[in-house]
Symmetry: C2
């Protein structure tokens, strides 16, 4: 992948990622390079804005006529929902958005693609989702999006574990009736061919493992949302047992394609 | 000059050029390349906004925390004055701004550098401003900025011609008392060592010449604001008579340095 992009010009289409803090975001580089590779005259730049000023900025950005799309990260994924004129079903269900593009009347169309990135990473690494019995640990924002993506991609069963029982039960209720057998579960991966960690456990040395690797089924596939370290203790233990794995970095890479496609209306 | 810039990242500083239309502007390319050459992690992108929506956009952009500067072009140079908390003296005198950068309290500091670009182009092409008797044809926005720059750079005398006598007289009054002998003049360049065209005459085939080249003094220096064609009929005639010349493209190139310096607070 090249490290440079063509210099912008007067016809360049503008894309921004809204977040606070912003210095850590990878999308400006990844998406701008993806646009350059596709021959698209567009650049995605970081846009740091506090929660208190978000509405004023977004009200103004409505009138930036060559602004075609927004990526949204922490802490604005829920607040940006109210700026959307239309939503994908998954964004509506999850109550949050991470991607916005213009409708023909210039209002914003919102989507939540955090789950699609994990799905892409699992499939790119050889994991099988359709028909699998899966365990999801973590029912927060990322976990909810991943749970919905797994159910809609055809898992046979999804057990959901979260230390916050109300959060867990809310996600279970949200995902029931969509074709999979969804239930509150424990952190025990016994019987699961697919295990996904969507908690922060594994970011810091000494974190407890979100799942006991000794209980992993032979041939189970294990995925983790954490990007740093790329190979978490859970993934290292899973690999040592011969399991296939998908990393948070893989999820991020798969999501770059999803994001670029959405922003370009593909 | 390289044709590419480093891909942006989460720490990239944002700069925008506000205008309508916007596709024709050269600053995104010129300034983004200049930033890259200087090792500055910043990108300047086009921002198309109508006059009616300008205030709402700028009110929002105040809260884009990594937005460090704005370039302003037609039709917003006068309207953007009211968004500036502080102004350079030349911007205050001219009542318009083409450059804004943040003050420490994040309010905008405005400048008008259109005249400095022409000054830089004349000097780069070997023209002498200090002590010269000069003729300025055209007292509009660009002409006013150039007139002020010529007076403040030490011309001995400045004759100003404009078909609109009230516009001409307003500029004469503005520039008097700053050290040069400033007066309303005709289009006759007799006695002038420096002649500047700041009218659109010369953009279209068949335009009348703004100044009669047959009347140019031997050794006079002639400058033109027009960028297309780069060598206007006036400049071609002046060159045929052995005069030194500065083009609108040269003015634009000189201004790129002025703009980059200002936006970076240099």
């Amino acid at each position: 992948m090249p490290e440079t992009i063509p210099a912008p010009d007067g016809e360049t289409r503008v894309f921004l990622i809204l977040g606070d803090p912003i210095a850590q975001v990878k999308a400006p580089r990844g998406i701008s390079l993806a646009f350059a590779e596709r021959g698209v005259n567009g650049v995605l730049l970081p846009a740091q804005v506090t929660a208190g000023a978000l509405d004023t900025l977004v009200a103004g950005l409505r009138y930036l006529r060559n602004l075609d799309g927004l990526v949204v990260t922490v802490p604005h994924k829920f607040a940006m929902l109210r700026h959307c004129a239309t939503l994908t079903e998954r964004a509506r269900l999850l109550g949050s958005v991470n991607l916005l593009r213009r409708n023909p009347d210039r209002g914003w169309h919102g989507d939540m693609s955090d789950g699609a990135g994990m799905l892409g990473a699992i499939e790119a690494a050889g994991g099988v989702v359709r028909g699998a019995r899966a365990l999801l640990v973590g029912a927060g924002g990322a976990g909810s999006a991943i749970g919905l993506a797994l159910v809609d991609a055809g898992v046979a069963a999804l057990a959901i574990h979260d230390e916050d029982a109300s959060r867990r039960d809310r996600l279970v209720a949200l995902l029931q009736g969509r074709g999979a057998e969804v239930a509150a579960g424990s952190a025990d991966p016994t019987g699961c061919a697919l295990v996904v960690n969507a908690t922060p456990a594994g970011m810091r040395p000494g974190d407890p493992l979100p799942v006991d690797p000794a209980l992993l089924e032979e041939g189970a596939f294990v995925a983790d949302v954490i990007t740093m370290p790329e190979v978490t203790p859970l993934l290292a233990a899973a690999r040592a047992r011969g399991c296939g794995t998908a990393t948070g970095v893989g999820m991020f890479q798969a999501q770059q394609v999803v994001i670029a496609d959405f922003l370009l209306g593909l």
